[in-house]
């Protein structure tokens, strides 16, 4: 499934942040999203995930193909690691959570409550969720926050395996994961300040 973005413009809080953004993400490839803080990387990922409408432009191939991981992991502290993962597996209609536990070395923690995990362990659990979605296009927003070197390697391996199975990934990160993929610097697409619709434009 190839994700194609054509001439996309997006807004945050009523202000355009990026415009004229075009790229394609073919199967088996990763795309690393770079750009200074506040440029709109999170907004871009949320828009691609379908959580907010784009201002202009087209997004093709995204519908029902995307697994999205935001800054927060969507974990319930009073559920165990297994219960948290099984829930998301059931929501996405997959059954087997064992590969996800293996990939992020969560087997030993599987009966612990998510609330008792360390920040890095929680993050690993959040990333393991991507594996149980069974969706081909991963979208990750700063996935390596609070991960140690070892865990970063685990994550990079998981992404590589995912790409090897014909999946693709769009990752907003500033560290080098050693993945086979291009870097998309969104900085040059920074939108010029302007009104987002005729209403505000009527005054300016």
């Amino acid at each position: 499934m190839t994700l194609t973005v054509t001439d996309l413009a997006i807004t945050r809080g009523g202000i355009p942040v990026l415009e004229g953004l075009s790229f394609t993400l073919p199967p088996g490839k990763a795309l690393i999203l770079r750009g200074p803080n506040g440029i709109g990387k999170t907004t871009l990922l949320r828009t691609l995930a379908g959580l907010q409408p784009p201002l202009t432009g087209r997004i093709d191939g995204a519908e029902d193909q995307i697994a999205y991981a935001s800054h927060s992991d969507g974990l319930k502290p009073t559920l165990t690691v297994t219960e948290n993962l099984s829930f998301w597996a059931a929501v996405f209609g997959t059954k087997d959570i064992q590969p996800a536990l293996d990939a992020f070395a969560l087997n030993e923690l599987s009966d612990r409550h998510a609330g008792n995990l360390s920040a890095g362990q929680k993050r690993r659990l959040g990333l393991a969720r991507m594996l149980v979605t069974g969706r081909p296009i991963w979208m990750l927003d700063e996935p390596t926050v609070s991960l140690d070197k070892n865990a970063v390697q685990m994550f990079a391996d998981a992404v590589r395996a995912h790409l090897g199975q014909g999946g693709s990934a769009l990752i907003a990160t500033h560290i080098d994961l050693g993945l086979d993929g291009e870097v998309l610097d969104v900085g040059p697409n920074k939108a010029k300040p302007k009104p987002i619709d005729d209403f505000d434009g009527g005054f300016l």
Binding site: L51, Q52, Y68, S70, H71, G74, K76, L79, V91, R129
Partner: protein
């Protein structure tokens, strides 16, 4: 969908899930009523159906601000919105889970609290029936209110302000059934109206709830 329901039930029953808080609140309100109006049993038995309905309604209201806010805070709501489940189903399941953990226990506890307030004997069955039919509407309407206020800090008070006027028809017909039942009057008309309101809200309001949730997630 069943997974979401089971998860919500599990969360409610685990530590800090808040199960039983509404029930305890219902009990306390009922106990406080005789302290405020006096212990004459004739007076208490007159006002018992209405007081129990109001108590159940307030107990229902109590847990609404956690209904979606917790999933909002930990990011689950974003992830659920990108999951294969339609948001309409998500809010319906959430309302169902709220009813099972809050509404249904209130229905079951109401007759025991009725004893405390000298509810006349014929009133018990009608109280339970009216609450059983009315509480699902309260959960569904409450979910709509929770969806409206989900992104707001200090949304709890606003939630009450928005939801309570919407509870008026349910309260009027529900309490009317209980009151008429307690005095041996005919209950068919208000009962049918109550059932109609519940059926309509359960069928239609989740669409509005999902729509406002989508707006709030933007």
């Amino acid at each position: 969908m069943i997974a979401l329901l089971l998860r919500d039930l599990k969360l409610a029953f685990r530590a800090g899930g808040g199960f039983g808080l509404g029930l305890a609140f219902f009990l306390i309100v009922t106990v406080l009523v005789p302290f405020s109006v006096g212990p004459q049993s004739s007076l208490l038995s007159t006002i018992a159906p209405g007081v129990l309905w109001l108590g159940a309604l307030l107990a229902c209201l109590l847990s609404l601000d956690r209904l979606l806010a917790l999933d909002w805070e930990d990011g689950s709501l974003d992830l659920l919105a990108t999951a294969p489940l339609p948001l309409e189903a998500v809010v319906t399941i959430k309302a169902l889970a709220h009813w099972l953990t809050t509404g249904l226990p209130l229905v079951l506890a109401a007759p025991f609290l009725g004893v405390l307030l000298n509810l006349p004997a014929p009133g018990f069955a009608w109280l339970v029936i009216s609450l059983l039919i009315g509480t699902p509407a309260m959960s569904v309407i409450g979910t709509f209110g929770a969806a409206l206020t989900v992104g707001l800090k200090r949304g709890g008070l606003l939630l009450s302000l928005l939801v309570l006027p919407l509870y008026v028809p349910t309260l009027i017909f529900g309490a009317e059934v209980a009151r008429r039942g307690a005095t041996g009057m005919e209950t068919q008309t208000p009962l049918l109206m109550l059932a109609g309101i519940t059926a309509a809200t359960v069928a239609l309001l989740p669409f509005a709830s999902a729509a406002v949730l989508r707006i709030n997630l933007r």
